[in-house]
């Protein structure tokens, strides 16, 4: 079956072969959570280096890369089916790109696709405030704010690809944020 793509299709097709590639092995959630933080810190450390000439640009690049990486990897750890998480990262044309691939079950995939449909109908900033109000009256729900803050507060561009395999669905998330204009390169 052909993959189903949501968001910015051209982003899903960009090659990250020249970037960094990491694999997180399967393991208990608590450990996965720790690895999520360590991995996003590591990606921010190495990818922000080209901006170290200006302290302000470096802080901005380091933070934006760290926040984006942390949210995408946290989601992969939280919602994955048992298996590896593949992570690719690179800086292309003045933007930081991160691609995370993991397996999800069909119930997670359909819930997520409903959310992505909602994203097409409203501004992310409006949806973010709506979701915050919903969370305040239903404490049992997850925060659900990761993607919305990325789209609303970080002007992230994003794409999601769902591919049906025999036993599960492979979800690939690609996200890009603009980096400061000045780099050492």
């Amino acid at each position: 079956m052909a993959p189903k793509i949501f968001g910015i299709e051209s982003l899903a097709e960009i090659s990250l072969d020249s970037g960094a590639r990491l694999t997180l092995r399967d393991g208990p959630l608590q450990l996965g959570w720790k690895h999520s933080g360590m991995t996003s810190d590591f990606i921010a450390e190495i990818m922000a280096l080209p901006y170290s000439r200006s302290r302000k640009d470096y802080l901005q690049a380091h933070h934006d890369i760290g926040y984006l990486s942390n949210e995408l990897i946290e989601n992969a750890v939280k919602f994955r089916q048992p298996g590896e998480i593949l992570i690719e990262a690179g800086i292309i044309d003045g933007s930081f790109l991160l691609r995370v691939k993991n397996a999800v079950d069909s119930a997670t995939a359909s819930r997520f696709q409903q959310l992505l449909h909602r994203l097409q109908s409203k501004e992310p900033g409006v949806l973010l405030l709506e979701q915050i109000e919903i969370n305040a009256i239903s404490p049992e729900s997850g925060s659900g704010l990761g993607l919305l803050t990325l789209l609303s507060d970080y002007d992230a561009r994003m794409a999601w690809t769902f591919e049906n395999n025999d036993e599960h669905i492979a979800l690939t998330t690609t996200a890009a944020v603009a980096m400061p204009p000045s780099s050492n390169r």
Binding site: H63, K78, I132, E133, N135, A136, S141, S143, T149
Partner: protein, 112 residues
């Protein structure tokens, strides 16, 4: 009144709450003790309460959810002034703290 782990520390002094370090907890359940601590303070009858976030380097989206829920709790108490102190040193603050002001127009946001 203090809650901490190896990455962060939250504590209250009179009517001021200080947030320090990196908030990367796994979801609303993990943030619940912090939420309870601060909600308790909001209900102590102070005229104003200050959240000092200048030491909060990083937080995940569940941490943003915590701050938003606390803002909504303060909004429910009509005569309580909530002051949020932030800094441009930590880039997330200029990006995400203005959302709190949208949730609660009477909140005073001080970004230095």
């Amino acid at each position: 009144m203090e809650i901490s782990d190896e990455n962060f520390r939250v504590w209250a002094e009179k009517n001021e709450v200080y947030f320090d370090g990196v908030f990367r907890l796994a979801g609303p359940d993990a943030y619940a003790p912090i939420y309870s601590l601060i909600t308790g303070l909001l209900h102590e009858g102070h005229k104003q309460v200050t959240f000092d976030l200048t030491g909060l380097e990083f937080l995940n989206s569940s941490g943003i959810n915590l701050l938003a829920k606390l803002t909504i709790e303060a909004r429910k108490m009509g005569d309580l002034l909530l002051i949020v102190k932030g800094t441009h040193q930590h880039p997330w603050q200029a990006k995400s703290l203005p959302n709190l002001k949208k949730l609660h127009p009477l909140l005073e946001l001080r970004l230095a």
